[in-house]
């Protein structure tokens, strides 16, 4: 694997350090901030960025199936974090791939490491079975190598990429990266590049943690929207119950989609609940709060409940004859139950 170093900028002192993360957006955010001198863990990025959620959108289809999400929409974590921590979030979008790749080169030549939005499908370093048309993947470009000396026409450049959901740094040909950055469709990236500026040196955890937790808790248990938060989980359970009367193949695709959104690359496992538990634990230690440490343990149980649901879902998908809708509904309601307990506990004690 390629060592993580900026090839074309030998005078550039800051070597980018690739770190393996659970999820693309939180991983990129933490990576860019760390590179800018602010040490922030990935779970902190999720927690302070109010990344956790649950929503089931029956009319918003992905690949013909309703969208179920365990995290806030793409881009929301950075924006919230930029506001909370008080750094400037610089963003650029482009009209054409040429312009977008030139701008990327200019950033790299200036020694700047940038985040980029891209499609998953058109990134060749993704394993074939994981390539789907999801256009809001995030990665960091930290360097470039030219295929041939400039005197021979330059060759086509290869970009050095720190993709947080991969264990090691990756390489991607310029043409492929251009295609992935300029794909059209839902959540089209339009070549989005972003980087933080005026990054503060420290974080006021005592002020920000309660604020962030309150926001997430309110959304999960106090929103009067039936498809959001804990109510959303129960709503989804009722929908699964109703699938019994319909086409069995559709029922399997429907359930498979829910589990996929929970475990697919870039969601961190356990539908983000373990990462949030890690956030609560870190926050509890920094603020020396027994309540938060306790909440972390409860959130771990929630993550475990989601894994039980994922297991039941996978079994349901695999066994074509299975009619165990009741088992799925029970497992999902158990998730709702546990989640509600954690949030009510946090409401009462903070």
């Amino acid at each position: 694997m390629t060592p993580a170093r900026a090839m074309n900028a030998p005078e550039q002192p800051a070597v980018f350090e690739h770190r393996h993360a659970g999820h693309c957006e939180t991983g990129v955010t933490a990576g860019l901030l760390r590179h800018a001198g602010l040490e922030l863990s990935e779970p902190m990025a999720l927690g302070l960025g109010n990344g956790l959620t649950f929503v089931h959108l029956p009319f918003f289809k992905v690949g013909g199936l309703p969208l179920t999400s365990y995290r806030q929409p793409p881009g929301s974590i950075y924006r919230t974090l930029a506001r909370r921590l008080g750094f400037k979030l610089r963003r650029q979008r482009f009209a054409s791939p040429d312009e977008g790749m030139r701008a990327l080169d200019a950033h790299l030549d200036a020694g700047r490491v940038v985040g980029a939005q891209s499609s998953v499908f058109w990134l060749p370093y993704f394993p074939p079975t994981m390539r789907f048309h999801f256009n809001a993947h995030n990665l960091i470009v930290y360097g470039r190598e030219n295929g041939a000396p400039a005197a021979d026409g330059g060759g086509s450049p290869v970009y050095l990429i720190s993709d947080p959901v991969f264990e090691h740094p990756q390489r991607c040909a310029g043409a492929d990266l251009a295609k992935a950055r300029f794909v059209k469709g839902a959540l089209a990236p339009k070549g989005l590049l972003y980087w933080p500026e005026d990054v503060p040196a420290t974080i006021d955890y005592a002020r920000l943690v309660p604020k962030a937790i309150r926001g997430t808790v309110n959304m999960m248990v106090r929103t009067p929207v039936p498809i959001l938060g804990v109510r959303g989980i129960r709503y989804l359970a009722r929908r699964i119950e109703k699938l019994q009367q319909g086409d069995p193949r559709y029922a399997r695709l429907f359930v498979g989609q829910i589990v996929r959104m929970q475990e697919e690359i870039g969601t961190g496992g356990g539908g983000f609940r373990f990462m949030y538990a890690a956030f609560l634990q870190e926050a509890g230690e920094r603020l020396d709060s027994a309540v938060l440490k306790d909440a972390s343990r409860q959130m771990t149980d929630t993550g475990d409940a989601w894994r039980q649901f994922a297991l039941a879902g996978a079994k349901f998908v695999k066994d074509k004859k299975s009619q165990d809708f009741a088992g799925l509904v029970t497992a999902l309601n158990a998730c709702a139950e546990r989640e509600e307990q954690v949030y009510r506990f946090l409401l009462k004690n903070s």
Partner: protein, 160 residues
């Protein structure tokens, strides 16, 4: 989830890459633990891959029978459906649906063909061809390696 519970169900298609999962270590501290894969995750992921494969195969049969254009096959083969292809080309859905008719597709302008070819990542020549039985279109080879080759008895995979 404890560190010891992190699934390590090997998934060769990861190409040796692992995923980072948050789990508790012996002291009850959270840390990322590399996971080689999880069977449950593999099942639901494979389900999505298989569904596109099934749709592509059915479209291929229909295309060979002259009922639909090659476009329908290429669409599913590239893991798209009507909505995604319409968005990726910037065309109205009804237009894309119309282009799935063989007679209409055969008369498409070079510019429109190019638009489809770009969105699907194939050449115009490949786009117009209905693949013969047993032939994997070259543009799709990078994607079918795993999901089709595994079911092909002549593939070196099964012998090794």
């Amino acid at each position: 989830m404890k560190k010891t519970e992190v699934p390590q169900d090997s998934r060769p298609e990861y190409g040796g890459e692992r995923r980072a999962l948050y789990a508790l270590d012996d002291r009850g501290q959270y840390a990322t633990v590399p996971s080689a894969g999880w069977r449950a995750d593999e099942i639901v992921n494979q389900q999505a891959v298989d569904e596109y494969r099934r749709l592509a195969d059915e479209a291929l049969q229909r295309a060979r029978a002259g009922q639909v254009s090659a476009l329908e096959f290429h669409m599913y083969d590239r893991r798209m459906e009507l909505e995604t292809l319409a968005q990726a080309t910037g065309l109205w859905r009804w237009r894309v649906r119309r282009h799935l008719q063989p007679a209409v597709f055969a008369r498409l302008s070079p510019a429109l063909l190019q638009r489809y070819a770009d969105a699907l990542g194939v050449t115009v020549a490949q786009l117009r061809v209905i693949p013969s039985p047993g032939v994997i279109p070259s543009a799709a080879r990078d994607l079918v390696r795993d999901d089709v080759a595994a079911g092909d008895p002549s593939s070196p995979r099964s012998s090794g």
